[in-house]
Symmetry: C2
C-alpha cells in the first residue's frame, strides 16, 4: 500500500490486495450479510466497484463462519472476487445486540436474531475474520455509547488499545491486512493518545471509529483533524461508517482514504436518489409523469434505460425492481463521485471541486444524520429495557 | 401466425408480432405492474424470454394508461422491446376489485388500491390496451365465480360473446392482435357453444378463460379437450393463468400454444425452486451447508455462480437478492422446459417426454392449486363483506 499526496491534505493512494488494487479515496458499499442489498455481484462489477464491506458480526450469527469457511471463504460464498473489508463486529455488538457485558477478556452479548448468548474476544474476532478470508480485517474495539461517563469512555479506549495488541498477536494469516481502530470518544486528548498508541503498534492501516454516531459535523471534523497527524503518512486511513457525499468531501480534505456507509443503499430503498443537484425523493408525485432520467448526466443502467416516471411507478407499486434500480443508481453516483474526487486530487483542484460541488448540492443528509442519532438513542433505551427484562 | 402440428395434439407454432417472433408453445412470465417481479428486463432478455404478460387493470389504476401512452407506450415505459400480451382486466375486476356491478354496458368496480370507483366497458378495455400498445390484447370477458348459479354462468358467458363483438368493433389499431376469450364455466355444452360462437367472430387468436381457479385438473383437462376442436387450427390458443410444468404438459398435449402464470415467480419469492426432480424449498435447513447449485443441470446465472447454501442464507436473512436469484432460476427453468417441449414436439417424441418428465418430477403444485382456490374463496368472502359495508 503506497500513498502519494497532493493539494490540501487530500491524497491519492492504492490499496494493493490479493483481490485487486483499489484506488483511494474509495467508497465501499456495505454488504453486511454477504450481499449488498438489492444488487447482484455482477451488477456491482458493472459499476466497477472494487471493494465492499461485509460484517463479521452478522455472518458469525448467520449463516455461521464455519459454513462460509467450508464453502471456500466469503469471496467464493458471495461470488465476489474483488476486495472485501470485514468489520470485526465490535460496533454491531454495541449497536445491535442485547445484554452486553464487557470485561478485559471480551464481550458477552445476545444475538439480535434469536437471543442466543455469545462471547466475542479479540482473538475470536481475528479467527472468525480469518475464516472469512477478507482482504482487510478490523481489530475488535469498544465503541463508547452516548450515555457513557468520561471515565467509561477512557476505560473503553484504553481497553481498545490492549485488545488491538491481542488482535495483532492472534493473526496467523499473512495475506490479510489487519487495521487498528482509533477511539477516544469526543475527547481531544484521548483521540490523540489513541492515535499515537495505535501508530506505535505498526498496523498496516488505521481506522477512525466512533465518529458515525450522529454528532454534529463540526465536532466530527475536529476529531478527524487532530487524529490524522498522529497516524503514519504511508498507511491508509479509514473513516468508519461515514459516506454521504458531503462527509466524504470533508473527510478526503483531511486525508482520509476509505469510507463506508449504508446510506446510499438504504436511502435508495426509501426512494432517495442522489443527483448532481442534491438528493431527490422519487416517490414524490412531481416525478409521476417525468420522461427524463433521474439524473440526465448519469450513465448508469437505471438512468440510461428508464424514465423517472417509471421509477416513481415502481416505488408506488412497491415493486422489487424499484429497490434494485435505485440502488444501482446511487452506487453508480457514488462511484462516479469518487472518480471525480480522485481526478481533482490528481489535478490539484480538489478544494475548488469540493466548494463547487457543495454549492450546487442541496443536502438532506444532515436530517438523516440527526434521525440516525435519534434512532440510535431509542434503540439504546429499548435495549436497556430488554436487558432489565433479561436479567 | 402460422402453425404446424406434430404427434398427439401437441403442435409447434410461431407468433409473429411487431416486437419479434415467438416460438410456441410458449410460457409467458407475468409482469402485471409493468415489471416481472424481482428481475430487470435485461435479465429477462439474458434468459431469452420472448414474450411477457402485463395487465390493463393494474396499469389503468396505477400509474394510469395516459401516462404510459404519453411516455411512448408500455414497451418503452418498461424498457422491453420484445412481445407483450395484455390482459383486458376482466379477470382482475372480478378477482381483485371491490363492489362489482355488471350490466350489459360494462362493469362498475372499486379500485383495490384506493377504493375509487371506475366503469370498464369493452370499448374502454380496447382503448386502454391500444394506449398501452401491447402486441396482443385480450377482449373484456366476464369470469364466473364459484358461487354463481348455472343461470348466472350462462348469462355471463353469453354477455362475454356480445362484449367480444364490441371489442372487435372498437379496435382501431391494426398492429395489435385481439384475442377472444372462451368462457362457459365448467359446463360442457356452454364451453362448446362459447368456442363455436367466438370462432365465428374470426379473432386472430383464442384464449380459454376461467380455467385457472383451482378446480381439479381432470375437470380442467376435460374442458380444454372439448373446447379445442371448435377453435380454428390455424390460430394460436392461449390457456390463461395456467403455468405449472405439469399443467403445461397436459395443455400442450391438447393443442394449447400459450401459457402464463405467476406461479414460477411467486413461488420463487417464497423459496420454492424448480429442479428437474421437482420443486424444492430452499429455506429448508437441509440446504444450509450445500455446496452444489440448486440444480446442477441448470446453467442460469444463479446456478452457475452460487451454491444452494448461499441461496438458503439469503432467504433466511431476508435479503432482496434472494428473490432476484430465485426468480431468475425459476424463469430459466421454465424457459428451458419449454425449449425441451418444443424440441420433443419437433422430434415427434412429446408423449414420451411428458411421461418421462412427470415420472421424475415430485409435484407440490397441486397443493398450491388447492391453496389458491382457498385463497380465492376467502378473498371473495372478504369482498362480499366489504361490499356490504360500502353499500
Amino acid at each position: 500500500m503506497i500513498k502519494t499526496s497532493s493539494d490540501s491534505f487530500a491524497r491519492l493512494g492504492w490499496l494493493i490486495t490479493p483481490h485487486g488494487t483499489v484506488e483511494t479515496p474509495v467508497f465501499m458499499p456495505v454488504g453486511s450479510q454477504a450481499t449488498v442489498k438489492g444488487v447482484s455481484p455482477r451488477q456491482l462489477k458493472e459499476i466497477d466497484i472494487r471493494m465492499i464491506l461485509s460484517n463479521n458480526y452478522h455472518l458469525y450469527l448467520r449463516p455461521g463462519i464455519e459454513i462460509i469457511r467450508n464453502l471456500g471463504g466469503l469471496h467464493k460464498f458471495m461470488d465476489w472476487d474483488r476486495a472485501i473489508l470485514t468489520d470485526s463486529g465490535g460496533f454491531q455488538v454495541f449497536s445491535l445486540s442485547h445484554l452486553r457485558r464487557i470485561d478485559e477478556e471480551g464481550v458477552k452479548f445476545r444475538s439480535h436474531i434469536d437471543g442466543s448468548e455469545h462471547f466475542l474476544t479479540p482473538e475470536l474476532a481475528i479467527e472468525l475474520q480469518e475464516g472469512l478470508g477478507s482482504d482487510v480485517m478490523m481489530a475488535l474495539d469498544i465503541c463508547p455509547s452516548f450515555q457513557d461517563t468520561p471515565e467509561q469512555v477512557r476505560e473503553a479506549t484504553q481497553r481498545t488499545h490492549r485488545w488491538a495488541e491481542r488482535c495483532l498477536k492472534a493473526q496467523t494469516r499473512s495475506d490479510q491486512a489487519l487495521f487498528g481502530i482509533v477511539q477516544g470518544g469526543f475527547n481531544e486528548e484521548w483521540r490523540k493518545e489513541s492515535a499515537g498508541i495505535l501508530a506505535s503498534l505498526d498496523f498496516p492501516g488505521y481506522a477512525l471509529g466512533g465518529l458515525s454516531l450522529g454528532e454534529p459535523r463540526e465536532q466530527t471534523q475536529k476529531m478527524i483533524g487532530l487524529t490524522v497527524p498522529y497516524l503514519p503518512q504511508s498507511k491508509p486511513r479509514y473513516l468508519m461508517g461515514v459516506g454521504s457525499p458531503e462527509d466524504i468531501l470533508f473527510g478526503v480534505e483531511q486525508g482520509i482514504d476509505m469510507f463506508d456507509s449504508v446510506l446510499p443503499t438504504r436511502v435508495a430503498r426509501n426512494g432517495g436518489l442522489y443527483t448532481s443537484k442534491g438528493r431527490i425523493n422519487i416517490r414524490n408525485s412531481r416525478w409521476k409523469e417525468a420522461a427524463q432520467a433521474i439524473d440526465p448526466a448519469c450513465h448508469c443502467y437505471t438512468c440510461s434505460r428508464f424514465s423517472a416516471a417509471y421509477l416513481h411507478h415502481l416505488f408506488r407499486a412497491e415493486e422489487l425492481l424499484a429497490y434494485t434500480l435505485a440502488t444501482l443508481h446511487n452506487l453508480s453516483f457514488m462511484y462516479n463521485f469518487m472518480l471525480k474526487v480522485r481526478a481533482n486530487i490528481a489535478e490539484g483542484t480538489f478544494k475548488a471541486f469540493k466548494e463547487d460541488f457543495l454549492a450546487g448540492y442541496r443536502s438532506s443528509d444532515e436530517q438523516v444524520r440527526i434521525a440516525q442519532k435519534q434512532k440510535w438513542l431509542e434503540n439504546q433505551e429499548q435495549r436497556e429495557g430488554n436487558n432489565g427484562k433479561d436479567q
